[in-house]
Symmetry: C2
Subunit: 445 residues, 2 copies
Amino acid sequence: MANTTETQPPHQVVIIGGGFGGLYAAKSLNNANVNITLIDRRNFHLFQPLLYQVATGAISPADISSPLRSVLSKSKNTKVLLGEVNDIDPQAQKVLMGDEAIPYDTLIVATGAKHSYFGKDEWESFAPGLKTVEDAIGMRHRIFMGFEAAEKETDPQLRRAWLTFVIVGGGPTGVELAGAIAELAYHTMKEDFRNIDTTEAQVILLEGLDRILPPFAPELSAQAETSLQKLGVTVQTKTLVTNIENDFVTIKQGEKISQIAAKTVLWAAGVKASPLGQALAQRTGIECDRAGRVIVEPDLSIKGYPNIFVIGDLAHFAHQNGKPLPGVAPVAMQQGEYVASLIKQKLQGQTSLPRFYYVDRGSLAVIGQNSAVVDLGFIKFTGFVAWLFWLLVHIYFLIEFDNKLIVMIQWGWNYFTRNRRARLITGKEPLGNYTSEKTREMVNV
Amino acid sequence: MANTTETQPPHQVVIIGGGFGGLYAAKSLNNANVNITLIDRRNFHLFQPLLYQVATGAISPADISSPLRSVLSKSKNTKVLLGEVNDIDPQAQKVLMGDEAIPYDTLIVATGAKHSYFGKDEWESFAPGLKTVEDAIGMRHRIFMGFEAAEKETDPQLRRAWLTFVIVGGGPTGVELAGAIAELAYHTMKEDFRNIDTTEAQVILLEGLDRILPPFAPELSAQAETSLQKLGVTVQTKTLVTNIENDFVTIKQGEKISQIAAKTVLWAAGVKASPLGQALAQRTGIECDRAGRVIVEPDLSIKGYPNIFVIGDLAHFAHQNGKPLPGVAPVAMQQGEYVASLIKQKLQGQTSLPRFYYVDRGSLAVIGQNSAVVDLGFIKFTGFVAWLFWLLVHIYFLIEFDNKLIVMIQWGWNYFTRNRRARLITGKEPLGNYTSEKTREMVNV
């Protein structure tokens, strides 16, 4: 019964990165006659859209993480490898990890992006970003330590600086962080301190453009701004950050330059692609854009290498309406599924293959407990209904992997109690922003 | 209407430590006419008896932690102070924190204990103990990284060493860790790897005495041993650890000395009291025992200082049946409540005060999913009923603080799915046990 294709060694697919792109590609290939190796630096898939909830003490990292091995334990054609890829050899068709070389027939590169300071890398220690579990734990440390330091501080000016939280960047992450910190200060923790009144805290959201949530329709941006203001957030648009120092953020509004005294500054302004994109570009002569993203062909392969695909936040795909697709989870998921289906079709000998087409099902961002903005294109809505919609969509995608019903119950509980029970200050945080000796001691305990 | 006692400044109670002893004391004083300052290095109370569940990936740190400020937010006479006490001045009646001095009328010292290596501190990097959230995260890192390293290892001997887990100490923590690791290897993760068979892992529990769980009745120790063996744990009693090195544990059984090749060694063998006990002893001339615990009077005060109480794991109380009370949560809770009531009675002018008497309601330890041992004195039982009893008791005490019903639901879910979803390898772990270059790279990702 055996024919020649069955006796050939199976087609080797190597996927680098277990984020939305890589994981959806692997899952879509689980019934294909291929051998898959999924390589990631971490042993878990992280549901990044909810990382801000970890940073603000609502949920724990494990609530939004799924061990890659258990997500893929039923995919018997898939092997998970823990490790960091440092280079790719497209001629030899090998992925290089230290002294190991892993051969591939088809390669999917999905290593994503990290936050970027537009060349001002020295800002990172004062204004951390939010991409990893460790980032979220560090941010949580800073936010809650800010309130603790204010409680101990006797100088009124310094106390005010400890109670000032500046979020740089008015995209979804910035809006979500600002809303969550405002809720912490004005609701959750208002009975918790004896020396300070947490409702005197200032939460300031800075955005360079003329409105927050620029990917949304202007009327939704306006409503989001109103909702944030109701929560107590000060929204400053058309505001450029020109410097971040230990205790100050310098901003430029039109011609006016001023300073905000703030001990806690959080960065939600920009991302740059994973350095593996540059490495690949050097090896293949392809181009990257200014953010380091790899410019891909209509089928997500790279020029001259039809067996190498780049997907997700690492890819610059501009074949749809001229500007690159945004770095969001739905794009990565659809690209992962598309590449998986393309590989299957190629293996079946099909030659007339469709190009990738992104189906934009809409954008959503949450502002606070009862408020969100949803833009589905054909319909736009805000407020409680939008919040409920946001909740359901996120739960749907969370439970798809790992039956995380528990997270839903947790959220229900938090919602009714307005609690954030995961307010742990743990780990030793690089000091950065913590200046006074007293605070330094406190952080080092 | 004012009388003299009302115009006096209120009695100042300072409590050092927000564990079971300190927190129960604070809560019991919440309706008393005193001002309370509770000082802790951390901003949360940790339910330590379940820390082994964090170390083995079943639950998250926040599931067994409660922010001290929210536990005490309704206690308007209580102030929480985040910081580390480095000394006590009993003559000036002050607690010293860096350059701050906090005055007290009554002092309760409840700073607990940490793990101890009986003078072999160099063992710590090879065999970490389990007292803090960071310890648990580090232990989780090692356990899961052991399986990952075995998956990558091609040398069969080294692979076997990566799959060998040695737990030193057959008390409740050691038994609980051994049972949980055996369940991970033989059930939870058995479908997860492609190169190794996790059911070939060895879990070895070492105990110096002639039986595990020495505080329990001998028949319960025997049954616990049988249950552990059924789970796949190798129990070795009358076994002394004479050395722990990078890849080996040296043991002595009678006159026989041998070595176990193991990459993961966990310490559950001994504790020593917090150094604040020694500092207090030097200042007051009182005595500590060999484990550094402060020897207390029948009312838990220290000799010559009726306004200084030492409670919980830091106290050596031997007035009940000659040997000191064990360092377990129920002792600390009862001591906290007793001291609170003593302070209230003294303030009401009562002079005939009762001494402390510990009501031992029994001991319990969990062995695995369906198995535990319970010794209530008048009745002893094991197996599933004991496990259910263990679960209910722990949930009762957990929800007392913080409505942690969520943890119960989580456990129910884990129970039916045999899942451990919190298997995250996070943080950068000091390398210690990780020897080969390849592994070192892997851990550093």
